[in-house]
Symmetry: C2
Subunit: 103 residues, 2 copies
Amino acid sequence: MTGTDVYANDGAKIGHIDHMMIDKQSGKVAYAVMGFGGFLGMGEDHHPVPWGKLRYDTVKQGFITDLTEEEVKGAPPRSAEWPADPDWERRTHAHYGVPLYWA
Amino acid sequence: MTGTDVYANDGAKIGHIDHMMIDKQSGKVAYAVMGFGGFLGMGEDHHPVPWGKLRYDTVKQGFITDLTEEEVKGAPPRSAEWPADPDWERRTHAHYGVPLYWA
């Protein structure tokens, strides 16, 4: 999983999976922590992206997303307690426009 | 997740999570690859255990399982293509008596 490429809808590679954050109770991926290798000038920071933003493409053997630079830059900053911070989780999912993974 | 302890029903520590195998399509954990540090004489091998065998205990901050040494030793050997081998997956889940994660 680590290192899997992530592509935009137009096929351009925009980053990769650094690691997954898993909800231990449900066994579901909650967040993909992504590295953006210079995606639109963002540098090499890692950002948690809700799992609902990604879908796996078996042909490309990578994930496809409609994520934009603005979305990532405008996302709620991580608190020290993330992801065990329901308020941060709610704001983050609302920001990205995807359902909460526990819904 | 890596390193999280796994306990038997009686509270004895029997191993730990080495890593998780995630189904990329659904974002669900398919297998926990567990290390058994001498659990009933099993040595340090790693064995894939279906996610359905584990439940997370928030008090212990670890997983609880009814896994036995016999179950682990008697499990179908991993083929080269595991886990992308539906036949191996079916036999493994049947062996451990838990539903397929994609069911």
